[in-house]
Amino acid sequence: MDIVVTVKQVPDPDIPPTHFRVDEATRTVIPPAGVSPVMNGYDAHALEAALRLRDQLGGKVTVVSLGPDSARDALKRAIAMGADAAVHVNDPALNAADSTTTARALAAAIKKLGHVDLVLSGRQASDTDGGQVHLGIATHLGLPAVSPVQKIDDPSAETVVAERIVEDGYQRLRVRLPALLGVSSEMNEPRYPPLKGIMAAGRAQIPVWTAADLELEAGQPGKVQLRRLYVETREASVEIIEAESPGEAGAKLADKLREARLV
C-alpha cells in the first residue's frame, strides 16, 4: 500500500505561554532562544499509522511537507522514524501562503508523486489549529475524506474501515481507496526513531519542489488573510484572589474565568 503522509513543522507546543512572543508587524512567532520547532504532534500519529500499515501490507511511505528550509528537519525526523521517501515543497511564494493555497500546493505535490492508495494527515496542526488543509487536499484530489479518525481497521487494496470521532461516540465507515484520513492522537503512540534511522535521515537527499515544479501560478492572493496576530497581555506573576471568606474567593474566581471567556 503506497501511503503519503503530510507533515507540518510547528513551533514547540510546550513553550510556556509566559515565554510566547509574536512580532505583530510581520505577524509571526518569535520562538524563545534554544527552542527549535518540531513536527506537528498529530502528523507524527499519522506517520506512525502509515508506517504500521506499510509494515503490515508492504508498499511505500512518502512524507510531504510545505514550508521554509527549516521544515526539512521535520522531514528528516519522519525519515528517521522510518518513512521511505520525503518531498520538501519549498517556495517563498508558498511558504507564507494561506490555508487554501497550502492545500492546493500539497495536492499538486501528491498528484505529482503518482500512484497513491492512501493519504494520511494529522487532524489539525498545533499552530493554527485549523484542521482544514487536509480536507482541502482531499477536495482538490477528488478523494473521499474522513476526519478525525481514531482507528483504521482491516485495510485491503480496495478499502479501509475508519473510525471517525463524532460527538459522544464514533462512526465505523468503510472507505473506498484511494482516500484521505485525518488522524487523531487516539490512534497510536508515535515511535522514537532508532539510531539507524537517525543516521539514514542524516544522509537522506530530500528533493525540493517549487511552485513552478508543481505548475502552480504562484503569487495569486489566498482567500484567507491574517490581519492581526497578537498575544493577550497578562501579568507574568500570579493574581491571588483576595476575599472576605474562602467561599467568596471561590465565587470571585468563577467570575474572573468568565471575564476571560475561559468558561
Binding site: D12, D14, I15, P16, H19, P32, A33, G34, V35, S36, V38, E189, P190, R191, Y192, P193, P194, L195, K196, I198, M199, G202
Partner: protein
C-alpha cells in the same frame, strides 16, 4: 616406623578399573571445559588486549585463596563456610597426589619411600584436620541452604543438592575408609588418625571379615563418587571452581563507575546486545561464573520489592540458555530459581519467562530475559558490589537496553518523553533551556558567561537539571550558594550553557543521545579553563563528568558538594555551629552514585558529624546501602511492578527513630519526599540534603 600399606584390601581388578576410569574422567572433564570455552569464543573480541595483567593476577589470587570478597562484614558465616570447604578440598586433593607420588613414581622408579615416619604422622594429622574442616564447612552449607529460611534460598535447584550430597559423601566415606582399615588391621599408628580413630574404636568389636567387606564396598563407592564429582564439575555450578577465579581475573579495571562507550557510533550497524554473540567473550564468562550464592539479591532494590528483575535469576537463566546451546546439561537448566513470594512481592507467574520453556534457539530478549526485567534495574550496583566473583550485572543489562533503544526502539513510553525533552531542551523536563538559570538570578548567583575574569574563580558549580528546574532542588542549590558565600568561595555556574550530563540517557541505553549531550557540555567546559575544579551537587552528574567524560575528551577535577563542604569545614574556611539540630537528628542515606560508584562514604558522614553532631546509621549502609529507586533513569519511569523501593528504604530510615533522612542527591530527595507524603509522615519526618543542613547550621553564625 608408622606407615600404611597403600592399596590395602584393594584388588588388582579394582585398581585396573580405577585407572580406566581416569580416561572417562579426563574425557568428560575436557569435553565440558571445551564446550564452555567454545561458547565464550562466540562472544565479540575485546577492543584491546587485557590491561594490567599482573594486578589482575594478584587480585584473582587474593580473592581465590584468601577469600577477599567472600569474607566480608555481614558474611562471616558464609565466608568461613566456603573457606573450610575450599581449603579442605585443596588439601585433600594434594593429599591424594602425595599418595600417588609414593605409589606410582617414587617407589617403582627409585625404590624409595617417604610415606612413613614423621612425614607420615604429620601428613595424617593434617589430612584429618582438613578433612574435618571440609565436613564442617559442608554441614554449615547444608544448614545455610536448607536450615536457615533466607529469602534468597526460598527455592533451590537439584544441582545444589547434588553438589552438596556428592561432597559430603566423599568426605564421610573418606573417613569411614580410614576407620574401617584401622579397625580391621589394628594399626598401631591409629591415634594419629585423630578424627576417624574414635570411629575405629567403636568398630573395634566387629568381626574383621565384616570390616574388610565393608571396606571394599566403601572403597568402590568412594571412587565412583569421586569420578561422578569430576565429571559433574563442568556441567554444574561446580564449574565456578575454574570460572569464578577466571571471571575475577577478567573483571573491568577501568574506572568501575564508567559504562563502556560505543566508539564512532555513527558508523555502527548494530547496537548493544540482542543475542549471546553480541556480548564480549569476557562478558559471557560472567554467566558461567555464577554459582547462585544470592548475595546479589541481599541489597537489590528490585528483588526486595518483588519486581521481576532478580540479578541472580537474570544471570542463571542466560547462563543456562548458553549452556543448553553448548550442549551441556547445566544444572540450572532443570528446575528454575524462583524467588516469587518474597516479602512485598506481587509477582505472578506471568512476570517470569520460564526457562523450562526456553528452547535452545530462542530470543535472548523476550524469551530468556523479559523486557520488564531489563527496565526494572536502577543500576544501583548493589549486586556487583556483593558478587564474590565480580559478575558485572549492570553493564550487561545496559547492553541489552542499548539494543532495545538504539536498534529496536522498544522501551517504556515515559522514556519517549524523556528522550524528546533531552533532545529539545537539554533537560529531562519540558522547560526551555533558556529558563535554566532563573533560580540563580533570584539567589544572586553568577553565570560564567557574565563573569569578567573567569580565571579568578575557584570552582565551577555544576548545578544539574534537578536543582535548576525543580523547586525543591532549587532550595538545595540556593543552600549551597549560601555555603559558598559564607566560606567566601569565588564560584559561578554554567547556567544557560549547562545541559543534562547525559546520565539518564546513557543508563536508559540511549548512548547516542548521551554522547550528543556530553559533547555539548565538554565543548563549553573546555572553553572555560578545564583546570577549574568542578563541584557537582548531583551524584549522577558528578559520576558522569568525573568518570565518563574522559572517554569523550573531557578531563576535569570533579568533586561532589559533600566532599567540598567537608574540605571547607576541615580547612576552617567554613565556620559551622555544631549540634544545632535538637531531637533525634537525621539518618544518613548513601546515594548509590556517590557511595558504591565512587566510594565517597565518609565525607558526607564527617559533614553530618560536624554540623549535626552526629547521625543515625541505617542497617543497610555504605557499600551495602539500599537504593532510593531513582537511578538508571527510573526516576523518569513509572514504578508499576512490585512495591515502592523508596518506601522500603524510607521505612528503614524511620525505624532508626531519626527525625528525618539526610541525603546528598536531588533524586533521592524527590523520591523520599514523594515517599513521606505517600506514607503520610510528612509532619514528623523531614527529607533534607546535607547542604541544607549545613546552611541551617550557618544561620546562627551569619
Amino acid at each position: 616406623m608408622p606407615t600404611r600399606p597403600i592399596g590395602w584390601n584393594v584388588s588388582e581388578v579394582a585398581f585396573g578399573v580405577m585407572y580406566v576410569l581416569v580416561a572417562v574422567q579426563a574425557l568428560l572433564l575436557a569435553y565440558g571445559g571445551t564446550r564452555r570455552y567454545v561458547m565464550w569464543r562466540r562472544g565479540r573480541p575485546l577492543s584491546g588486549p587485557l590491561d594490567r595483567v599482573g594486578e589482575r593476577a594478584r587480585h584473582a589470587l587474593a580473592v581465590t585463596f584468601l577469600h577477599r570478597r567472600l569474607l566480608r562484614p555481614g558474611y562471616l558465616y558464609s565466608g568461613l563456610m566456603h573457606l573450610f570447604i575450599f581449603w579442605g578440598f585443596v588439601v585433600l586433593f594434594i593429599g591424594t597426589l602425595i599418595v600417588l607420588l609414593e605409589a606410582d613414581i617414587v617407589r617403582p622408579y627409585f625404590g624409595l619411600s617417604f610415606y612413613q615416619g614423621t612425614f607420615y604422622v604429620v601428613y595424617k594429622l593434617v589430612i584429618n584436620l582438613f578433612g574435618l574442616l571440609f565436613l564442617v564447612g559442608l554441614l554449615m552449607a547444608v544448614y545455610r541452604r536448607y536450615g536457615q529460611q533466607l529469602p534468597r534460598f526460598r527455592r533451590s535447584l537439584s544441582d545444589d543438592a547434588i553438589v552438596l550430597g556428592l561432597l559430603l559423601f566423599l568426605g564421610l566415606t573418606g573417613f569411614l575408609l580410614q576407620a574401617l582399615r584401622l579397625a580391621a588391621t589394628h594399626d598401631s599408628a591409629a591415634p594419629i588418625h585423630w578424627v576417624s580413630y574414635p570411629v575405629a574404636l567403636a568398630l573395634g568389636g566387629v568381626d574383621p571379615a565384616v570390616l574388610t567387606g565393608a571396606h571394599a564396598v566403601t572403597w568402590w563407592s568412594h571412587m565412583l563418587a569421586n569420578t561422578a564429582l569430576l565429571v559433574y564439575i563442568p556441567v554444574s555450578k561446580l564449574a565456578h571452581i575454574f570460572t569464578g577465579p577466571a571471571n575475577v581475573f577478567l573483571r573491568a579495571t577501568d574506572p568501575k563507575a564508567a559504562l563502556n562507550t560505543i566508539a564512532n557510533i555513527e558508523e555502527q550497524e548494530h547496537f548493544g546486545v540482542a543475542k549471546l554473540e553480541d556480548f564480549s567473550w569476557k562478558q559471557l564468562v560472567n554467566f558461567d561464573a555464577c554459582m547462585r550464592c544470592g548475595r546479589c539479591l541481599d541489597f537489590c532494590p528490585t528483588f526486595n520489592t518483588g519486581k521481576p528483575l532478580k540479578p541472580r535469576q537474570l544471570i542463571v537463566e542466560i547462563g543456562a540458555y548458553m549452556n543448553r546451546q553448548a550442549g551441556l546439561l547445566a544444572g540450572p537448566a532443570g528446575p528454575r530459581i524462583d524467588e516469587a513470594g518474597v516479602r512485598g512481592s506481587e509477582l505472578t507467574a506471568a512476570d517470569e519467562p520460564s526457562l523450562v520453556q526456553v528452547p535452545v534457539i530462542a530470543n535472548l530478549i523476550g524469551d530468556v530475559v523479559s523486557e520488564d526485567e531489563l527496565w526494572d534495574c536502577t543500576t544501583c550496583r548493589a549486586c556487583m558490589e556483593q558478587c564474590p566473583v565480580q559478575i558485572e550485572h549492570v553493564p550487561l543489562i545496559v547492553e541489552m537496553r542499548r539494543n532495545l533503544v538504539l536498534e529496536q526502539s522498544k522501551f517504556p513510553q515515559e522514556l519517549v518523553t524523556l528522550f524528546n525533552n533531552l533532545e529539545r531542551n537539554a533537560n529531562p523536563y519540558s522547560f526551555p533551556a533558556s529558563t535554566r538559570a532563573e533560580w540563580a538570578a533570584a539567589a544572586g548567583v553568577q553565570e560564567l558567561a557574565q563573569v569578567a575574569d573567569p580565571s579568578s574563580l575557584e570552582v565551577i558549580y555544576w548545578v544539574g537539571c534537578m536543582s535548576s528546574f525543580d523547586a525543591r532542588g532549587q532550595r538545595v542549590a540556593t543552600a549551597l550558594a549560601k555555603i559558598f558565600a559564607a566560606a567566601e568561595v569565588r564560584f559561578a555556574i554554567l547556567g544557560r550553557e549547562e545541559g543534562c550530563s547525559g546520565d539518564p540517557a546513557r543508563r536508559a541505553g540511549n548512548e547516542y543521545l548521551f554522547q550528543l549531550l556530553a559533547q555539548a557540555n565538554i565543548e563549553r567546559l573546555n572553553h572555560y579553563s578545564s583546570e577549574k575544579r568542578i563541584v557537582a551537587s548531583c551524584p549522577h552528574c558528578f559520576n558522569t563528568l568525573k568518570n565518563e567524560y574522559p572517554q569523550l575528551g573531557g578531563n576535569y577535577e570533579v568533586i561532589h558538594h559533600s566532599q567540598f563542604i567537608q574540605e571547607l569545614i576541615s580547612s576552617g574556611r567554613l565556620k559551622v555551629a555544631p549540634g544545632v539540630l535538637e531531637g533525634n537528628g537525621f539518618a544518613y542515606h548513601d546515594p548509590c552514585y556517590l557511595g558504591r560508584y565512587n566510594e565517597v562514604y565518609d565525607a558526607p558522614r564527617d559533614v553530618m558529624q560536624s554540623v549535626a553532631g552526629g547521625f543515625a546509621e541505617m542497617p543497610r549502609c555504605r557499600d551495602r546501602g539500599f537504593c532510593c529507586g531513582a537511578g538508571g533513569a527510573r526516576a523518569f519511569m513509572e514504578e508499576k511492578r512490585g512495591t515502592r523501593i523508596s518506601h522500603n528504604r524510607l521505612n528503614e530510615a524511620i525505624d532508626t527513630r531519626a527525625d528525618g533522612v539526610a541525603v546528598a542527591c536531588p533524586f533521592c530527595v524527590t523520591m523520599f519526599e514523594d515517599g513521606v507524603r505517600a506514607l503520610n509522615v510528612e509532619e514528623r519526618f523531614a527529607v533534607k540534603d546535607i547542604a541544607e543542613i549545613v546552611a541551617a547550621a550557618l544561620g546562627s553564625e551569619s
